[in-house]
Symmetry: C2
Subunit: 584 residues, 2 copies
Amino acid sequence: MPVLQPIVNIAELLYQKGITDVVVSPGSRSAPLTLAVVRHPHLRVRVMADERSAGFVALGIAQQRQNPVAIICTSGSAVYNLAPAVAEAYFQQIPLLLLTADRPHEWLHQQDGQTIDQVHVFGNQVKRSYDLPADYTHPDSRWFIERSVNEAISLSRLYPAGPVHINVPLREPFYPAANESFQAERVRLIHTLPGSPTLSPETWHMLLRDWDTSERKLIAVGQLPRNQALLDVLTKISNELGVPIIGEIVSNLPVNDRFITHTDTFLSGISEQQAASLCPDLLITLGNSLLTRNLKTFFRQYPAARHWHIQPVVDRITDSFQSLTTLIPSEPLAFLEKLFADIDYQLFLQGDEDDDSHEFLNRWQQADRKAARLVEQTLSLANQSQYLTDWSAVQLVLEQVPDRSILHLANSMPVRYANLCGLTEQQAVSVSANRGVSGIDGCLSTAVGAALATDQLVTLVIGDVAFFYDRNALWSAPVPPNLRIILLNNDGGHIFRMIDGSSRQPELETYFETPHGYTARNTAADARIQYQIAAKPETLRALLPDFFRPGSQAKLLEIKTDKRINQEQFLAYKTQIKNLYPDN
Amino acid sequence: MPVLQPIVNIAELLYQKGITDVVVSPGSRSAPLTLAVVRHPHLRVRVMADERSAGFVALGIAQQRQNPVAIICTSGSAVYNLAPAVAEAYFQQIPLLLLTADRPHEWLHQQDGQTIDQVHVFGNQVKRSYDLPADYTHPDSRWFIERSVNEAISLSRLYPAGPVHINVPLREPFYPAANESFQAERVRLIHTLPGSPTLSPETWHMLLRDWDTSERKLIAVGQLPRNQALLDVLTKISNELGVPIIGEIVSNLPVNDRFITHTDTFLSGISEQQAASLCPDLLITLGNSLLTRNLKTFFRQYPAARHWHIQPVVDRITDSFQSLTTLIPSEPLAFLEKLFADIDYQLFLQGDEDDDSHEFLNRWQQADRKAARLVEQTLSLANQSQYLTDWSAVQLVLEQVPDRSILHLANSMPVRYANLCGLTEQQAVSVSANRGVSGIDGCLSTAVGAALATDQLVTLVIGDVAFFYDRNALWSAPVPPNLRIILLNNDGGHIFRMIDGSSRQPELETYFETPHGYTARNTAADARIQYQIAAKPETLRALLPDFFRPGSQAKLLEIKTDKRINQEQFLAYKTQIKNLYPDN
C-alpha cells in the first residue's frame, strides 16, 4: 500500500458521505489532500489563495446546499486564517469539514517553519476536533483515520450543524512518484442514521393545556433558511388561530398583510401601556438569532409568562430574552404542524369560532401597517430627492431583485436597511446573512460561495468597509457570472454615525468611520467583472433591469452616497417614529 | 468613579510601562479602549480597518522597536482575524499586547451578535491569556485589572518575548456622556526588573574543557535582529580562534570574506566525504530558526558530537538538528564575549599561536567563496539577458538598497533569493522577515508597521501572491512615505514550480500556482502610492536610484517576470551546483 493511501482515501470518504464540494488553498504540506480531492472523479474543487476567503466561500456554498463543504489548507498561520469563517459557521450552524495539514507533532517548537500548535486550534468554535496520526502503518491507525472521518462528516450535519476539524499531520514525501496511482481504495462507510425527537402524548397534553390557558399567544421566528412548508403552517396558525407571527428579513418571512415584519420601526420608543397591550402570555420562538435590538429589547423588557423555544436538541439553554420557561426538543416545522392540527381538531370538536381571539393579532397587525406606511413615506420622500441614500438604494434594489433568486445581506447597515424594507411573498427570494457572529469580514466571500453553489442569481448588498475588507473573494478567477454586487459606498463605517454613542464623539471620523476614499472601479477591473456606478435614484432605477439580467460576467453596481445625507434621513425617520405614538 | 474608569486607566498603564504605540481597529464594543488610548496624550494610535492587517502592522512596529505594541479590537470574529499575526509573533518572539473587547460571558450562546468564546481563544499561541471581570465595583476586581495589565506587559517582554492576551468584557454604555472626563487616574505601576542568567565558574570550567577538547568548532547563527556588538565578537572569534561563523540573510550576518553565508548553495548535493571534512565536533547555535533546508539537513545528517544552544531561558528543548547535547542559559552576546575573553586569555597564557587551527575555517571559507562565484556567474549571465528574473531583480535591488536602511523580506521565494545574494558589511542594512511561522499572510502589513516605526527607508521585497493576499495593508491611509515595495510579479505561487514534487504534477498551474493575471497598478492607484513597472534589467537599474530617494509618498516598483524563465534560471543554477563537486 502506498504510504499516503489512508490520506488519499479521505477523498473517497467525503464523496461517499455525500460531500460534493471542496475549497482548497495552495500549499505543499497539504498537497496529498489537494491531489486526492482533485483527482477524485466526482468532487468539485475550488481553489482560493487567501484562506480567510476560502473559509467563507466554503461557508457560502454550505449555507446554500445545507450540506457540509470540505476545506483543505496547509499548516501554520494558514489554519488561523480560516478561524473567522469557522466561528461564523459554528454560531450560524453551518456544516464545514476542516482538513488542516500539519507537521508531525514532534516538530513543534523545533524552529521549523509553518508549525503552530494545531491540535484544538479552533478552541470552542468547532463541534469537535480530531487529530490524525502521522504514522499509519499499524492497521489500528488506519481504522482510526477511517472511523474519525466517518464520524466527523456525520457530526457536522447533526443538529446543531457546524464545523468539525480534522488535523492531518503529514510526513514527506507529499507528492506521488511518477508511476504512483494516488487513487482511492475501497473505503468503509459507517452510516449515522437521522433520528427526530418526538414528544410523548403526556408532554403534548401538558403543552396544549398551557396553550389553552394562555390568552395571548405569539410566535417569533429568528434566522432561518426559506422554507415554504413552514410559511404555510405559520400562515394557517395566524389566520385560523389569530396568533401574531413575528419575523425579520433573515427569518425569510415575507412582507404581507399577515406577518408582522416592521417591529424594528414600531417597537422603537413604544410606551409602557402600548407594550403591555402587545405583550403575549405565551411566546413561542424558533430559529436562530433575531436581528434587531428593538425586538430583542421588547421581549426582554416585557417578558411573556411562558416562553417556549423549539429546537431539535436541547442540551444548551439559549435564553435570549431572559424569560425562557420551556425548551421543546423538536423540529420546529413538525412541532408547529402537529400543534396546529391538534388545536384545529380541538376547535372543530368544540365548534368554536370565536372571533374575539383575533383581537390580539389585529393589534399587532395595525401597528405593523402603521410602521410600513411610515417607512414608505420616508422612502418616497427620498426617491423624490436627487441623491440616493443607502436606505433608498436598498429599497430600489429589493423592488427589482429577481423573483426566486438569492439575496445575501452583508452585516452592519445593509441587513438592517433591507429589514426595514422587506421582500414580498410573490418575490419568493431566499435570504441569507452571516448572523452567527455578525462580522463584516467574510460577507463578499460568502456570496461568492453562494453563487458557486447555484445557477440562480445571487445578489449581495454590502457596505464599503465590508467590501474592501473582503475583496480577496474576487481575486481567484473566475468570479461566478451569476453574482451581482450592490455596493453601498458611503466612504467609511457608516454605522458609527447611526449609533448614538459613537456619533457624538469627536473621534467619530478618524477612529470609527475611517474614511478611505476608495471606489470599487479598480477592484472590479482587476477581477474582470462588470462595473457601473449610480448616485441618483433615476440612474439606479434605469440600471437595475440590465444589471439583474443573466450574463456571462459577474456585475458590480456601486452606489455612491453621502454619509451626512444618510444620517439626516435616518434622524428624520427616527423623529417620525416618535409621531407614531403621539400620546407618549 | 465613572463606571469605565479601570478600563480608561489601562491606557495610562500602557504608557507608564513603556508602550508607545497602539494599533486599533474600529468597533463599538471596543470603544472604551479606543477612546482611552486616543485621548491619552502620549500614545501614538494607528487605525486599521482589517484586523488581520492591524495585527501584522503591530507586529512590524514591535519587530523594529523591540518593544511591545498594543492592539485593540472589538468582539467576535474580529478577534480571530488577529490570530495569524499572533501566531507569527509567538514563534518569532515579538512582544504584543492583545486587548480584545468582549461581551460579558453570560451572553455566550444566547444568540447575541459578535459573541464567540474569547477566553483562551489564541490557545497555545500566546504566552498567557487574562480574562478581566465585566463588573468591577468591588475593589478586588479593580486590583485584579491593574495587576493583570502590569503583569501582561512585563510578561510580553520577558524572554522569549511574545504576544499576551487580555480579554476585556465590557458592558454598556461604551461611550462617555457629554460631561464625562474619560481621563486616566493615577495608576499603580508594578516594576518587573530584568535579570540575566549567569553561569557558575564550575559550569564555565566544564564548557571550556569541552571547547578545548573539540578540535573543530563551528558557530551557526539563526534569525536575529542586527546587532553590531554581536557581529564584532563573532568576527573576533572567527579571526582569532579560527571558528567558522555560519549565517543567513535573516541572521543579519553580512557577506564578507569571513562569514560563511552561501551554505544554501554549497551544501546542496555535497558528498559524504566533503561533508565529513566540514562537520564540526562542537556546534554552537544561537538565535531563532534557520532559513534554508540545505543547512538544516547538513546539521541533521552530519551531527556534531557536541551541540550547544545558547538562549536566555532553557525551559524548552529546541533540538532543531536532533543533536543537541547542552542548553546554555545565557544571553548569546554575553556568552560569546565571555567565551572569547576566557579563551583569548588562556591562549595568551599559553603563548599559543597555532596557525593550523585555521584549517577548518579555511575549508568552509573556500567552499563559501566557490559558491559565491557560482551565484555571481549565474546572475551576471541573467543580467546580460533582456529579461529580468525574480532572482536577478532581487540582486539588483540588494545592490542599490540604501545603506543603513531596513529591508523586510517576504516569505516564500523573496527571502530565499535574497539569501542567495546577501548584503555587504558596508551596507549595514537591517534585515527582518516573518520566520516565526513563515506565512505569506502578513508580510506587506509587517513592512507597513516597520515603516511606521522609523524614519528610515523600509524596503519590502515580496512576491505577487503574498502582496495581493495582504493588500489591505495599504487600504488605511496614509501609507507611510518611507515604504518602498519591490513586487516580484510572476503571476502565481512561483515556489511550487521550484519544488521538485509539485512542479512534476499536472495540477501544478491550476491548484498550486493559481495564476491570477493581476498587476499592482490598480492597487497602487487606490492606495495613492507611486507606481512603476520594470521587466528588463536596464529599466530596473535605471529606476532604482530615484525609487530609493526619500519622498513624500510610498512607492511600489512592480517587476514583471516570466515563471518559465525563472524556472530555467533556477534549474541551470542547480546544474551548476553539481559542477561544484566534480568528484560526486
